[in-house]
Structures are given as C-alpha cells and as structure tokens.
Symmetry: C2
Subunit: 649 residues, 2 copies
C-alpha cells in the first residue's frame, strides 16, 4: 500500500458556520467547559460526584484522603483539558485558560519523581502499580494525558503539560519497550497507542511511535495475557462485571494482523483499530493496513447500526456477531461512535479514500449528536434506536438503557468524548496533503491554510438539504496549482459541477471529485444535486429489521417520537413508496433540519383487551411525523423508534 | 368468598395413559431418578458437580471438608426425594427406595440437636445461621425438605423424614412465630410458606399453617427488611448479582394483600402467590383471595408468554412491566412455569373455577415440557420463543439463553422442578371435593377414588386432537350421586355431549360442564367438538408481537425450527387466514401430536449484500413446517421461532 501523508489542518484555521454544528460547537465552549469544570470540582449540584480534581490534590499531597471514584477518573480532567485546548485553538472559552494552567500545575505536582502519574494507584495502592493491566487503566489514563498535552501545546504553545506527559511517556518506554521488564504486557484498555503516535508527531520522537507499534504487536501474541493477569489479582479485583472476562473483550484473542472481525468492547476495539491505521500509515505496514481494511469492513458492513452506533450487547458494551443488531437492548455507546469516527478518519488518511467518511458522517450526524442534549447539559451513554421508557427498569436486562439523557455519569467518558469531538470538528471536515485539500463533510465552514507555499482559503456553503446546491469559494494568494478533492457521498443523486461558471465533469477518484486549481484570486465551484428523503431497509440477515424501513435525509437518520405520534410506536406502518413531505423544523430544536410528515397506518391486532386471541388485523390511517434522530429527546421525553414496519404488498 | 374444599386425589390412584405424557412420566422414573441420583453423588460424567450428598456427609461429620456448590444445594436432594416419592406412589422406581431411606438417615444425621438442617451454614459458617435472610435460603431449603417429607410419607407411610422435617419446622416456629426473636423476618426466597401448609395438612398441626400465614403477613410490612438485611451482610455477601437488589425482587415492597402487579423474581412470586391462595382458602381470608385474583389476572392477562412462560427480564429472572414480552432475551425459567401451574391449581381449588386451568395447561403443555429433552437427560432453564444460536454468546446480554438443553446446572432447580411436576402430574388432571370429581386436563388417564362412600373409577380417553372426541367411562360400585365437573377449555369449539347414548346439554358452571351421576355400574360420557389448528395474535400493546401470529393446536403452541425451514426464520411470513395442514408427527419425537404444513412466504429486503440500502421487498413462496414447541430442539439443534410475521392485506 502506498503511503499517504494526509493530515488535518490546524483547528485554529477552521471556522464552522453550519447552524446545527455551530450550535453544538458553541455549547461546548459556553456550557460544557464551565459545566464540566464544576463537575470536576464537585461543585455541580444534582450530578454524581466526580472526585477528579480532589484526587489530584490528594496525590499531590495537598489534602488528606483516599482516591475516590472510578479507577480511570483522572481522564475526566485530561479530556476536559483536551476539549478546552480545541476551544482555545478557535479563540473560545479563553477565560478558562487560567484554570487549565492551574490544572497543569496540579498534574505536575501529582507526578511522581520517576514521571508516574495516576492518582488511583499513587494514593490508594502504590504497591500495585503496573500490576493490573486488565483493569487498572494506567496506560489508558496515560494516553488521555498525552492527548491533552499535545492538544494544549498546539493550542497555547505552552510546553509544561507536554513535558509532564513526555516524562510519563519516557517512563512507559523504559518499562514496556522490547527488552524491558514489562515487554510482554499489553494495555487492558487501548488508548495509549494512538496517543503515543500523536506524541511522536508532535515531538518528533520516533520512540513513542515505536512503543505504540510494540503495544499493537505484543497484543494477542500470548492470547491469555490479560485473562491471566486478571486471575492474578485475586481479591484486588476492581470490576465485578469482569466475572465474564474473555480474551475477545479487549481484542487480545489474536495478533492485530490476524483479526478479521470486530470483537469485544466496542470502544477498546475502535481505539485499537485507530492506532493500527496510524501504525500502518506511519510505518507503511501492509499487513496492518490489510487487517484495518478487513476490520473496518466487518464493522461497517455487518455490525453497525444505521445510526453509526456499534456494540450490540448491552452487557459488557461489546460486539456480538454479524448482523446481530437488536434495536432496544444494545449498547451503542456514544464513545464507540466517536471511536468509529476516529478509525474512519485514519482509514481515509491511510488510503486517500473518501468512502471511509460515509460511516464517520453517519456516526457524527446521528449517534454522536444524539449523545448530547441541545442544551449541552445532559448526555446519553447508550444510544438505542427504539425506546419504551416504561421497560427501562433498574435491575433488569434493560437497566443500561436510559430513556432520557443523564446529567453526568460516575463513568464519565461519554460527555467528555462528545465534547472533544465537537470542539475539534474541523479535523473531520478538512484534510490536506502535499498537493491536495480534502473536503470530507458537507458542513458549512471556512478553512485557511497553506499549500505548496500559497495561502488559500476555502469557504464551503452547503445547502444540499435545503435546495440541493453547495458552493465552494476558493481564494489563493498565488497562482499555485493544487487539487481540491471533494467527497461525493452516496446520497447525492447525479451531482453536476459548475466551476467558475462553466459546467465541468470532474474525475471521481476514491470517492472524491478532483478539481484542479491553479489560478490566484477567487474561484467558485458549484455542485448541484438532489437530496430527497429516502426510505432505507436493512440486509435480510438483520433479523431485528425484517420487514422494516427507516427514513433518512442525507446523512441524517430520522425517528418517530411519542410527542408527535402518540404512544406504542411499534404498531406504525408505512409503505416504502410513501412520500415523506418536508415540514418546518421542530420548534425549539437547533439547526434547520426539516421534519417530515409521512402518511402511515396504525395496526390493531383486533383481539381487544385479551392478551392472546384470534387475529383480526385492522389498519387505520395515521399521519406520522419524523424528526432527526440527532435531536430526539429534546422536547417531551417519551417513546422513540427509528425502524417502522413496512407495508409490503 | 365461600370456602372450597377442593383437593387432589392420591397419586397412587391415578394412571396416565396419554402417549406424550406417559412418555415423560416414564422417563422421570426410568431416567431422571437414576441420572439425578448419579448427579447428587457426583458420579455423572460431563455435568457440573453437585456436591449435594457430599455436603450432607460433611455436615453429618462423616467426611472432612467444607460445603461446596450453591448455598441452597441441599434442595437438590430434597426435590429428588420428593420426585422419587411420587414415582413410588405409582409403583415406579421402587429400586431407589433403599437409597432414599439411606438419604433420609443421612439427612437425620446432618440435623443438629435443635432440629436445624442446612449443610451450608452448619459446615461453613454456623455463626451466621438465621442472619442472612435475603441470600441464605435457609427457609427456602427447609420448605423443600418439608415438601419431600410430606410426599415421602404419603408414598411410603414411613415417618422418619416427616419427623426430621417436623423437628426443623418446630424450630422455625420457635424462632419466627409472632412474639419470637425473629418475628419480623421474612424469607428471601418464598417456598416455606406453601410447604408449611402441606405439613399442617399432613400432620393436622395448625401451628404450621399459622406460621405460613405469619410469613405472608410480615412480608412487606417493613418494605426494606430484606434490603437492610442484605446491606448488613457486608463482606459476607453471597450473590454478586444482588448488587441490583430491590424490594420488588422478592415481593417485599408491599404487604401481600396490597400487591396488584406481579413483580420481581418470577419463581419467588409464584411460590408466594401459591401460598397466598392456600392461606386464603385455609383461613377464608377474603382480602388475601382478592389479592390472589388481582395478581393472577395481572400475570395471565398482561405478563405471560403464549407458552405460559413468565419473567421478561433475563437479568435477575424477573417480571418487568405489562405487555413487555420480548421473545429472545427473556428468562421464562422452567421453574417459574412450574410455579404458575402451582398457583393456578390453588386458585382453582380456592374458587372452583376451571378457567384457572387454562394457564396451568398452557404452562404444562409448552414451557414445562419444553424444559426437558425427550430423552430426559438435558434441560432448559431459560425458555425463549425465538432462538438464534449464533448470538447466544457468553459475556453478552444473551449469555443466559442456551440454544440447546444442558446436561445439568450448578443451580439445579429446573430439572428437579420439572421432574417433580411430571412425576405428580395426576394432581393437575383430577381434583375432588365432598360431592364432585373435577377433570381439569384432557390427558388420557384413569382415576380411582372414593366419593360419598362410593368407590368410583373414571377413565378419560381424550382424542380431541386426533378426531375431536373424548370419552369418559365412569364406574361406581354404589348408586351414590355425585357430580362430574369437566373443564371445557376455550379451544373446544361448540362441544356437544352424549351421556349414556343420549344427547344432553349440561350446565356450564365456572368453566365446568356439570354432569350429575347417580347410577351404579358403567356409564359413558362422550364429548364431541372440533379442534382446529388456529393462528393467534397478541394484544396490540405487546410490542414484540406487532403484526405477528403464532400457530396453536389445542393447548399446544407450535414453532418453526431451522431443521424443517432453513435458517433466518424471522424472514418468514404467513397469512392469518392460511390453513395449517396436519401432517405426520415428526420422526423420533414422543407422543402423537401432528406437525403442520403452512404455505408461507420468505421476505428479501432486496438490497443484496449491503448492510443498508433502498428497499425492494420481494416475497418468495415457502412451505413452512411447524412442530410442537414442547418438543423443539429434540432433533438437529438450530434456530427456532414461535411468532412469525403475518401477511396483512
């Protein structure tokens, strides 16, 4: 496989203007950053306690106490710092930089002389450092520290946190590199691998990428390393639910290059596959690249919900088998869809193929957006496609499904993961290499960047969902030639192109329309297409969706809520040929996505109040209303359904 | 409510001749009794170890060691003894009576001087006796000892085990009766209540029934007794899954007379409701009787599967909410359906109403029979209505569902519960009171009994499912008048009656056709009806069954297996008007129930190999074959489905 050098432009040079995403990006800096700051400080009422900053203070010896909260609670602060860095990059939330600097100082004071940082182990059980790889999350937490440090350095130019993280990374290299004491250990939760690659890119220190590669290579070589490590913990076990632990859970069942299906905990899988794609690109490793393609195809062609959700088992938040996509009891963790975006972005960087961005867009526009309230203060951890609030009962098989977003979680990965994704959204819209600028998402925005010595700006005005057109204004200060590669997604019907007033028929290469630009000054590319609401069916092997259809508009999946359609949504039917009529956006929801009216039917089994009886099926007409799944549960909480029954004649 | 005195005739006087049930009754004595005997002795290869008899030997001080296995493992021996007693009652498995007597001696040697018996607490932690009501199962285990003792006494006339059980029951009365030390305690798993009533009936000692009544009355008075008791265990907790414990779980959330919905663990609920019905009948307690009716109606009209399965949550094996009846992930424990049979039998005894036997028959002919292999050596614990073997994966939300019957279980309640039910099946077929004999099931059999001083025999030849007729031969040695009450179930269409050659139109009272008998000698009642295979739909509020139909024949639910229909069963459709054509019984399956051929269709969503795409639904014709659910998974293991999609025009 030919190596590509596709990377993201600096976030500071991307401005998003799309009304829906601008809303969410803005609530990250205006609401989430202050809200999460309060949570980290345990000063937010009505949320589960975080203990996060208090734990650092205890570890720094500044207050007395023990570590409280989850074993990986340090990452809440790291992800907050990373998110804040992306906001600062764009000139937002600047009033928090002073707090961030205080936190950087605090983290450095909590760092042990040898570079070690982890408040759980430092405070509660220093004698058990580097012993519990399966549950301890030391390397996972280190990874998030590194990601935060790299982001904070890029945003502020301040090196303090990068130095702290590098010292820790150096210690990790000393412990885990080939030939060292822990050379056979692999992390119980992948994350450090992709972080080390970022650190190598940022510092130019190749040893960090080498260690990432080593972590991937050592994994699954001894297929039961993590299982044996778990058994060795004896009475020091941390997670009771790991009674069901198996080698698949953390993808340690086979070497990375031999894995063919996405198995185990979905977030762990996505973080690992992302790092694999990075390593394949960095080292030009074909076997790793081929494994990435196989795993990507398995996920997106056999194990992914229409919403870009992944993880079909509610228990242990994991993959199950091909085509097993139950709509109400699955996990579909918000973090897993963030991870799918990360994996897809890296696959596109590895291959230069736009098609990887289809699933990135699917995850972003549906599960990731749905994971956060329009007001920014509540979150979904689990993202079902069908919710019946009454049966989401504690102490049952459905207890993991929350019918309304929650203000916080003891395990607070999802809010922070959504926040850092939205705060850095530009990285998913634009990319560039030596001679091309890539437009990967139709999210209205502007990019300024240098290419081949020219300073250019690209302004994307995407109106596909309003009037079927998009305009791209290109400005260059020099007559330097470069190519603009514009992703043409599957839902654009027969797009036509007008470049500087003239119809053109650009080459479509790897899913990108390739436009050669060589003039200086302003140029305009217009794309005209038609985006119609469309009904979608699932593969016949997806048992949960047999005879069902879902409504999509562009990349957006629509759903039916109780507020608009009344209760007992599973009794609704619509014909796959029925027209979805565009209507005004739902009042009070952000952005300008239309709602749709659908002429459907409601089924009655005709047996009255009995539980079972002779069928006498009767349809009655019903006007249904669909809203974007991304925005569900932002009005009156209630039932929701994505897949409705198809009327099949 | 008027008190009834309806009771079961002696099992020794009932002989079952129905080919299906005779088969299962016979494998209990010929296979289960020896098989379970080997299991109890840990001499059966390829099964999980029971440790049961070894624990008694340790408790009796005869071998060294600690208690191993489940905390309630003593009940495996008690249920084996109870089952064997029912076999001995009918003159079967007599070669095991000598082993039973040895076991009775062993139990008596394991009994402590004050009467206490429980090998777990005696051996492992005598200091914690009577402290852990929520998890300890001491009273539950005592209940099964008592049931075994009563049955063994009835079968053999031997008093030794009854004395042992009575001594333990006396100790329990001394500890738990009003005014005693533990008067506020209630059992964490109901069972002792109904056992104490049996003991009172057997011994004439009213104090045992009084204590049963007290246990029901104290329950839920302090709604958090069991929860607090669980918290008090601290590090001595037994069941990790009780992290999710709540007051609903063991029905201690409200006083028994104030409960209106079936909540919590389904087996606990059924055992409790059974005891409530007994107490309502024994003491003529109207408030208790009314609560029983409400709870029965809630279960059977809103929370019961078409197969008589109950317990919609796989996690914690419990009830959820009305109409929540998912077909693949539920629990539907075999024991819970045995419990439903017990509850229904007692409701019929309380009210004299035959309609309670509809659900008893539903549970028996479907879930209970399905719980045991035709060969008698394997068992289902969980009884789903839709099985896709590939997704029944360990470590996932579906891990509790086993796609094939298992040879044994560490928690071995179900095999033993099915065995004792089948071994005592006669109690569900016949009942009698001072002036009536009741026929409650159309299971061909013969009863000999005394009524009003006359010795009568009743021979039931039920051929409804073969030719629409049943014959009942009545013989009496005296011209004594009595009434024969014959249940007329909902699936008999327009039954007509010929009594001694003359057409009659008997009064139908409480679901029974009432026939006055007054002659001596032989008399014949013929019932002619039509039983056609029929499609059944569920209430429109049962979301899991929207637009679906199931095939029934008499009380038998039918299902579609992969062996006959190929894989991916959820794509099959059939019209509710389509005729199910009777065919020969499936080769190698017991009994003579027909199979059915149905003209159906197979749906393809028309999107090829993609995961999602534009629907192009296409039907192709398919000849489907249905087999009784009771007999599923007795040929080649594979997929199974009960509810298939209805073609609705």
């Amino acid at each position: 496989m030919k190596q590509k050098n596709i990377h993201s432009p600096a976030l500071s040079r991307i401005t998003v203007s799309d009304p829906l995403f601008k809303h969410y990006i803005s609530i990250v800096s205006k609401k989430l950053i202050p809200y999460q700051w309060n949570v980290l400080n345990d000063s937010e009422p009505n949320t589960e306690k975080s203990f996060c900053i208090a734990n650092f203070r205890v570890a720094a010896g500044e207050i007395e106490g023990s570590h409280k909260g989850m074993v990986f609670s340090d990452t809440d602060l790291y992800k907050w710092l990373e998110t804040l860095a992306y906001c600062l990059d764009r000139g937002e939330a600047t009033e928090f930089e002073v707090h961030a600097d205080e936190m950087v100082d605090l983290i450095s004071r909590a760092q042990e002389p040898d570079g070690y940082i982890n408040t759980y182990f430092s405070v509660n059980c220093p004698e058990r450092k580097w012993t519990n790889f399966t549950e301890g999350h030391e390397l996972y937490s280190a990874g998030h520290l590194i990601e935060a440090a790299v982001a904070y350095y890029h945003a502020t130019g301040k090196k303090r946190l990068l130095e702290v993280a590098s010292r820790f990374a150096n210690l990790i290299c000393d412990k885990f590199a080939p030939g060292r004491e822990l050379e056979n250990a692999c992390p119980g939760h992948q994350e450090i691998e992709l972080a080390l690659i970022k650190l190598a890119d940022c510092t130019g220190e190749k040893k960090y990428a080498d260690l990432a590669r080593h972590f991937l290579e050592v994994r699954g070589n001894s297929s039961n390393f993590l299982e044996e490590n778990l058994r060795e913990q004896g009475k020091n076990r941390i997670f009771p639910e790991f009674a069901d632990y198996d080698a698949l859970y953390a993808q340690s069942h086979l070497p990375a290059t031999e894995q063919t299906t996405a198995e185990g905990h979905a977030v762990r899988a996505m973080y690992m596959f992302s790092a694999m794609a990075d390593i394949a690109r960095t080292y030009g490793e074909d076997a790793m690249a081929e494994s990435c393609v196989r795993l990507w195809n398995n996920v997106t062609q056999k194990r992914m919900y229409i919403t870009g959700g992944i993880g079909s088992s509610g228990h242990l938040e994991r993959f199950t088998v091909d085509y097993d996509l139950p709509n109400d009891r699955m996990y579909c963790e918000s973090c897993a869809s963030v991870g799918l975006m990360m994996f897809g972005q890296r696959m596109a960087a590895l291959t230069g193929d736009a098609n990887y961005y289809d699933a990135v867009e699917r995850a972003l526009c549906n599960t990731v957006l749905a994971g956060i309230a329009a007001e920014g203060d509540k979150y979904f951890y689990v993202n079902p496609l069908e919710v019946w609030p009454e049966n989401c009962l504690p102490g049952t098989s459905m207890s993991h499904v929350k019918p309304v977003r929650q203000p916080w979680f003891a395990c607070a990965c999802c809010p922070a993961n959504i926040a850092r994704t939205l705060a850095s959204l530009g990285q998913y819209i634009y990319a560039q290499d030596e001679k091309s600028v890539y437009i990967n998402q139709y999210i209205s925005s502007e990019l300024c960047t240098d290419i081949r010595g020219a300073e250019i700006s690209i302004k994307l005005q995407s109106n596909f969902l309003a009037d079927g057109t998009s305009r791209i204004l290109i400005k260059s200060d020099k007559p330097q030639s470069f190519t603009l590669r514009i992703r043409i997604p599957y839902y654009l019907e027969n797009p036509t192109f007008i470049f500087n007033g003239k119809a053109i028929a650009p080459v479509i290469e790897n899913g990108y329309a390739v436009i050669a630009v060589s003039r200086e000054g302003e140029q305009i590319l217009e794309i005209n297409s038609k985006v119609e609401p469309r009904w979608v069916a699932a593969n016949s092997k997806v048992r949960a969706d047999t005879g069902k259809i879902a409504l999509m508009y562009g990349p957006y999946v629509y759903c039916f809520e109780e507020e608009d359609n009344g209760p007992n949504l599973p009794v609704f039917y619509a014909a796959g040929s029925s027209r979805a009529v565009s209507d005004a956006p739902a009042a009070g929801l952000p952005g300008s996505l239309p709602t749709f009216k659908v002429h459907g039917r409601r089924l009655d089994s005709g047996i009255g109040e009995s539980l079972y009886g002779q069928p006498s099926f009767r349809f009655t007409d019903a006007e249904l209303k669909a809203v974007p799944y991304a925005l569900w549960c932002n009005r009156t909480p209630g039932e929701m359904i994505v897949w409705i029954n198809a009327l099949i004649s």
